[in-house]
């Protein structure tokens, strides 16, 4: 029996994104944004949108596959898939699910996408509405523990306490993202540079570790990638970004109610990461492109540790700005600005940036661009990660 693996069977052949906006500033409806991103991904690959035969998304995206298929004149819809769970935990999972459909012959040409116009719907960082809460929230909301930042802050408090990690490590993550965004014309935070003093002076969202600049934006926009069989990708316009591995899921009981997950001070990749690297047949040291979803900088810290990219006891030394910026840093991080400073496109912008880096067309180009890791949605559950590789990695 052949090895069961996604490795090298599919590739990202096209990437597309809309203009990214501050929340509430998109002149276009959320569904129109989705259509624009998808059409651009198809154009980038040189594929007609009519030949798309599947859609995969996550985060309860409101732009559903059948409507997209009808709007685009898709000839035949063969795959319509939603990754369970909120936030950006499913960003890499959606690409992985699209790849799984293509690798197994269920579909041939699948879009993984996210469309989000928070100005037109609810925001994540505001609570309100219902005067009564049930389920897990009944044990949290009455204590003023409601927003995503509040749900995750205590994980970060404990992790940094356990490992003696200082605030400067989180500051460096934020500074690197803002640094990279300054060169990126589609970054919402272009023209708004951040330095140490401004970070330190920024208001607390949550003590002891979340300043304003440790928290992601909320935005309007859409982004899409096109996944096709590896052999087909070789005949298209761009060098393929092969899917080497996808890991998705959750550690043992990571959704245990009322903050009772056994591995509390973590971001939920501890059991996933070894599976990911095993499928990719790569080690952390082989990877030069690192894109890690920032809902909050503390989640970046923990997920870099869980993926073996940073040792917890070395975090204070490794997570310094100069080490995290392209082109000369040892581990350039979130080279388009990420969720913090490019756009909170629920991490799909990180997948797109990885592909640009592998093609050699990134604005902040890294030197080692044969393999990329994308880490999605730390601290939510389930989470997902992806490793992409060039032809040379196959």
């Amino acid at each position: 029996m052949s090895e069961r693996s996604l490795r090298g069977k599919t590739a990202i052949a096209g990437i597309g994104e809309t203009t990214y906006y501050r929340h509430g500033k998109s002149p276009d409806s959320e569904f129109k944004l989705a259509l624009e991103a998808i059409v651009r991904a198809c154009e980038d690959a040189g594929v007609s949108p009519r030949d798309v035969d599947g859609f995969a998304s996550y985060g309860n995206d409101r732009s559903d596959g059948p409507r997209l298929a009808a709007a685009l004149g898709v000839k035949e819809l063969r795959f319509s898939n939603m990754f369970w769970g909120g936030g950006g935990g499913g960003v890499c999972g959606a690409v992985g699910n699209a790849s799984a459909a293509v690798a197994t012959g269920m579909a041939d040409c699948v879009i993984a996408f996210r469309s989000l116009a928070q100005g037109q719907f609810a925001r994540y960082g505001r609570s309100g509405g219902s005067p009564l809460v049930g389920g897990d929230d009944a044990f949290l909301f009455p204590y003023g523990l409601m927003s995503p930042a509040q749900r995750f802050a205590m994980k970060v408090t404990r992790f940094m306490h356990d490992h003696g990690i200082g605030q400067n490590a989180l500051r460096a993550i934020s500074l690197a993202c803002y640094h990279h965004a300054q060169n990126n014309p589609n970054a919402v935070m272009q023209g708004r540079p951040l330095d140490e003093a401004a970070y330190d002076a920024s208001r607390w969202i949550i003590e002891p570790h979340f300043h304003l600049y440790d928290c992601c934006q909320e935005n309007d926009g859409a982004a899409a990638v096109l996944v096709v069989p590896a052999e087909q990708a070789r005949d298209l316009r761009h060098a393929p970004a092969y899917v080497l591995a996808c890991g998705q899921g959750a550690d043992h009981r990571s959704a245990a109610p009322v903050h009772n997950m056994p591995d509390y001070p973590g971001s939920h990749f501890r059991s996933l990461a070894p599976r990911l690297y095993a499928m990719a047949k790569l080690a952390p040291a082989d990877i030069g492109i690192v894109q890690c979803y920032e809902n909050f900088t503390g989640g970046v810290l923990m997920s870099l540790v869980e993926h073996g990219l940073v040792a917890a006891d070395a975090a204070n030394e490794v997570l310094v700005k100069d080490n995290l910026i392209a082109p000369n840093g040892g581990m350039p991080l979130n080279t388009s600005g990420g969720n913090l400073a490019e756009c909170y496109m629920h991490g799909l912008e990180l997948v797109i940036e990885s592909v640009r880096q592998m093609r050699g067309t990134a604005i902040n180009q890294v030197k080692r661009n044969e393999a990329a890791i994308i880490i999605g949605g730390p601290m939510v559950t389930p989470v997902s990660s992806l490793i992409l590789g060039s032809e040379a990695t196959l």
């Binding site: 960082g125 505001r126 609570s127 309100g128 219902s130 005067p131 009564l132 809460v133 049930g134 897990d136 929230d137 009944a138 044990f139 949290l140 909301f141 009455p142 204590y143 003023g144 523990l145 409601m146 927003s147 930042a149 509040q150 802050a153 205590m154 994980k155 408090t157 404990r158 306490h161 208001r203 607390w204 969202i205 949550i206 003590e207 002891p208 009981r253 245990a256 109610p257 009322v258 903050h259 009772n260 509390y264 001070p265």
Partner: protein, 147 residues
């Protein structure tokens, strides 16, 4: 009228639609802290679920426990995310570990000065905080440092 730590108007707990947590909230109204204890394997379980995650027994009892624990982690939110918190200022949320009961954890507020230092590992005890004026009335469990 009793004092409450956070302003009135935050979402209130309900056990709808399935009633799973009814024994907990009925208990706090009576000044009793109850969590699940599996009748099959004897393990403590929190938060509430219909099945024991260890032995898969559906026979979960609710036993009264002593409200004693230690601070496992904390946060001090400043930014108000709910209208009831506008203008209120920072407050402390603690995650309390209960070593006597299988290390289950509970979330509450740490009573006292909202700007106080919060020592991880410090001993805390439960304090019942009735909201008698709410409709329907409910009682939260809060925590305060011991000694």
């Amino acid at each position: 009228m009793s004092t409450i730590y956070l302003p009135a108007g935050l979402p209130a707990p309900t056990t709808a639609p399935d009633g799973l947590a009814d024994p907990y909230w009925q208990g706090t109204r009576e000044g009793k802290l109850r969590i699940q204890k599996c009748r099959g394997c004897g393990a403590w379980q929190w938060g509430p679920e219909w099945i024991c995650h260890r032995c898969h027994s559906f026979d979960l009892g609710w036993d009264e426990i002593a409200g004693r624990g230690r601070i496992y982690s904390y946060e001090r939110p400043h930014h108000p995310v709910h209208p009831a918190l506008n203008g209120h200022g920072p407050y402390i949320v603690v995650l309390v570990e209960l070593p006597e009961y299988g290390g289950v954890r509970m979330v509450g507020n740490l009573l006292g000065d909202p700007l106080q230092a919060v020592p991880i590992g410090a001993a805390v005890e439960a304090v019942f905080e009735p909201h008698d004026d709410a409709t329907p009335p409910f009682t939260l469990v809060q925590w305060r440092l011991v000694g």
